[in-house]
Symmetry: C2
Subunit: 153 residues, 2 copies
DNA sequence: GAAGATTGAGTTGTCAATCTTC
DNA sequence: GAAGATTGACAACTCAATCTTC
């Protein structure tokens, strides 16, 4: 039996992720956006009003990353932060009308590029790819849980 | 027929890539390394002496990224730059003995974490995953070629 | 003490411009 | 003019520390 070629997977994944990321960034750049901001905007739009902590948790990001991104988007009038009336520690982030408008314009372009990229796979292969990613992410959950255990122990 | 769920693939890919990347970074951190530097070191070791332009091409990186990484690694005594005798524009990058020693120590840890992560997939699934990534990367080649054509036209 | 948000310092990446040599 | 390397300015991420409120 052949030795598993982890390097091929690592390199293929790195190449695809970074290259496709760059392609999406170039798509969004003319609108003053990046994929990172587009993803945040879509998330905020989907959930209505969110807290920084929600984003940190759902995207596995560092607090610093989120504060900085929201700061920049707030300065550009895309999002706004209001005090949370139910918890004086928290702030509620939502899209401004301008932010919603921008999202509605750029989101279809992202979907179109996704299509151009992913339609090279058959429906079955797309489902396979999603399933493999799901397995790998669940494996990460396990390994992270173990790491936390070690920390505590 | 169901509409392809591109968002699931996008989100799954983003989550897996960024989370696993962070896990590898934490593995390398005690040795003063990052995945990015580990990857560069492995490439330099494999090829003996390389030029900045080789790295830029083979990893699809911006020139800035490479110069900065090599600068930092040179300052730490991991790599060294020599003038290329055959081309006075170029410099040849190679690992120092200390760099080789460090790589030999850390590379097995990377392989071990790859195993822990990817062994959740069967051999067949690993092969599938690699093949799907290959298809997607070739698709990126096509799209990038089209983009270049548009630029020129 | 823990949760929510922010901030300081540093890495890895981008784009765009520059300088030297081919 | 094109290729090889570097640099300035900036985005998006990390870790670690801090401050307020629960």
């Amino acid at each position: 039996m052949a030795i598993p070629n982890y390097a091929e997977i690592r390199d293929g994944l790195r190449a695809f992720y970074t290259r496709s990321q760059r392609m999406f960034d170039r798509l969004a750049a003319p609108y003053g956006l990046s994929v990172a901001r587009l993803v945040l905007m879509a998330y905020i739009a989907e959930h209505g009003g969110v807290r920084s902590a929600d984003i940190i948790k759902d995207f596995s990001l560092a607090p610093r990353t989120v504060t900085e991104a929201i700061d920049a988007m707030e300065a550009e009038g895309i999002v706004l932060r209001r005090a949370d009336p139910s918890d004086r520690r928290a702030k509620v982030i939502s899209l401004t009308p301008a932010g919603e408008k921008l999202l509605k314009k750029v989101e279809p372009l992202r979907e179109r590029l996704s299509e151009q990229l992913l339609s090279v796979l058959s429906r079955q292969e797309q489902a396979q790819f999603a399933e493999l990613l799901g397995k790998l992410n669940r494996r990460l959950d396990e390994l992270e849980a173990n790491a936390d255990q070690s920390d505590a122990g």
